[in-house]
């Protein structure tokens, strides 16, 4: 399969996307050694993690309709950047969160935050803060709240929502999750989404400290 065909499959979603990502992951796996280990001098384990992150990022870029001319070149650049991130993380001392605030944040890498921000256009407004250092911490706090709410949901519902977002159509969801009909699948997706929104509302009504920033934005209060 050519690069364009692989991108097309990723955009299509569902099984086609799954297969395309597996193909890309296997086809360019040599980058773990050539870039991560031989060029940047990381351990094989770290280089592998950087490579997997790069493939995740590529998937997110293709889904976000970023024009990709050459998958190999883009992936090389992404792997190189993720490897450099690992080196930087080791060599620089980052500003630590105060101890009492630590449980309120997630330690997500910046590329993942960026990918999220770009995949959900309206979220730029949610994360927008003038000071750059404050922005990252705010992102981490909001995502920690979101993660907490998602984690509180039953795993089957969570999986159903993720599969729907991953581009599986209702026919495929019916097979994947064992629903009787496509209408049942549609109804279950709708209910799962509703229960997620209710859980978010509930977290705000309980005034969870993790969710302070998110709930303030939802209520449109001046931060």
């Amino acid at each position: 399969m050519t690069g364009d065909q692989l991108c097309e499959c990723i955009r299509r979603g569902g099984y086609a996307r799954e297969r395309a990502i597996q193909t890309i992951h296997r086809r360019f796996f040599y980058l773990v050694r050539t870039v991560g280990v031989r060029e940047i001098r990381l351990s094989y384990e770290d280089a592998q993690m950087a490579y997997s992150d790069a493939v995740t990022e590529l998937d997110s870029m293709v889904r976000g309709n970023v024009a990709i001319e050459d998958i190999g070149k883009i992936l090389y650049t992404l792997v190189y950047r993720r490897c450099v991130d690992i080196v930087r993380k080791r060599t620089t001392k980052t500003k630590a969160e105060p101890l009492d605030q630590r449980q309120l944040t997630l330690d997500l890498p910046q590329w993942l935050l960026d990918a999220l921000q770009h995949s959900t256009e309206a979220m730029q407004e949610l994360f927008e803060v003038e000071e750059a250092s404050e922005r990252q911490q705010r992102q981490q706090r909001i995502l920690a709240c979101v993660r907490m709410v998602v984690d509180s949901m039953p795993s089957k519902r969570r999986a159903l929502l993720v599969d729907k977002l991953d581009g599986y159509d209702y026919e495929e969801l019916t097979q994947l999750h064992g629903f009787k009909t496509e209408d049942v699948a549609r109804e279950m997706v709708s209910r799962a989404m509703q229960s997620l929104r209710s859980a978010l509302k509930e977290a705000c009504s309980q005034q969870q400290p993790t969710c302070r920033d998110l709930c303030a934005w939802l209520r449109r209060k001046q931060l």
């Binding site: 050694r33 592998q48 993660r147 939802l218």
Partner: protein, 272 residues
């Protein structure tokens, strides 16, 4: 199913509302704080699923990566070692082979291989009884008189038959005399067997040199008798203390899988 308000919000966020409806919806958003809050909630819910999807994909790819890495690691480490040892990197990124090291390692490997082969040969030989024990002792251990039967109905006046009987009774000196008589007759038919018996007797009489000369006269066409003679030739060499000739002879016997003394020859040579 979704209520109409939720469905409208979803369509708006999916960008599937017709342009006029979209404009109307955006106007409502700026005036209706409740609708605005609900749209925000939908957006955050989408963000939540998006994040979950990304994290799950990341986890899945890392698991797959670990599996692939296990499969490639040993080969990649060999390549790393080879590159680090034999290639020199310069600042422009070019690699040069270090021929000196390459030759040195190749020669070392060759030497190790040759050394291993030589050691195997030596250890194989050193375990062989023919190397470890004195040849005469081996001769004593392996010499056995030929097993022959009385020939029923044969002419008892015939010197060959008498020689056989003497041989069976263990009178080798008499047997040799009678066999010489028989062999002197130009029309004598059992020449090969008579030579074998004479050779065996001479061995028993500790006349290995004469035995060798006699046994070598057994023609290959005699088949089984010739094969017996081959074994006694090896024993004659052992009696004479000529180890290397004995080994050569035993190797010839061992090389014939159907030879009646093949197993014994192999045992003496220490070959499996």
């Amino acid at each position: 199913m979704n209520d109409p308000r939720t469905a409208r919000i979803e369509n708006y966020l999916n960008g599937t509302l017709p342009p006029e409806e979209r404009l109307a919806f955006e106007a409502a958003l700026s005036t209706d704080p409740e609708l605005d809050a609900e749209v925000r909630l939908h957006r955050v819910a989408r963000l939540a699923v998006n994040m979950e999807s990304l994290l799950e994909r990341r986890e899945r790819l890392q698991t797959q990566g670990r599996r692939l890495l296990r499969r490639h690691l040993w080969w990649w480490k060999i390549r790393d070692w080879a590159e680090d040892t034999f290639a020199q990197h310069n600042p422009e990124g070019f690699r040069h082979l270090q021929w000196g090291r390459l030759t040195l390692v190749s020669l070392s490997l060759l030497l190790v291989a040759l050394g291993t082969w030589w050691l195997m040969q030596v250890s194989q030989k050193s375990e062989a009884p023919i190397v470890l024990r004195p040849p005469q002792e081996l001769y004593q251990m392996h010499y056995k008189r030929l097993e022959i039967n009385y020939t029923l109905g044969a002419d008892e006046e015939d010197s060959y038959t008498q020689a056989r009987q003497q041989y069976i009774q263990g009178h080798c000196a008499e047997a040799v005399k009678l066999l010489d008589e028989a062999l002197a007759e130009p029309t004598f038919e059992n020449r090969a067997m008579a030579l074998l018996l004479k050779g065996s007797c001479l061995l028993e009489m500790s006349q290995a040199a004469d035995a060798l000369q006699t046994l070598r006269q057994v023609p290959p066409i005699a088949g089984g008798v010739h094969r017996e003679a081959q074994w006694y030739i090896a024993l004659a060499y052992l009696q004479l203390g000529q180890r290397s000739q004995a080994i050569e002879q035993l190797q010839q016997i061992a090389a014939q899988p159907r030879h009646p003394y093949s197993a014994q020859a192999k045992a003496l040579l220490g070959v499996k």
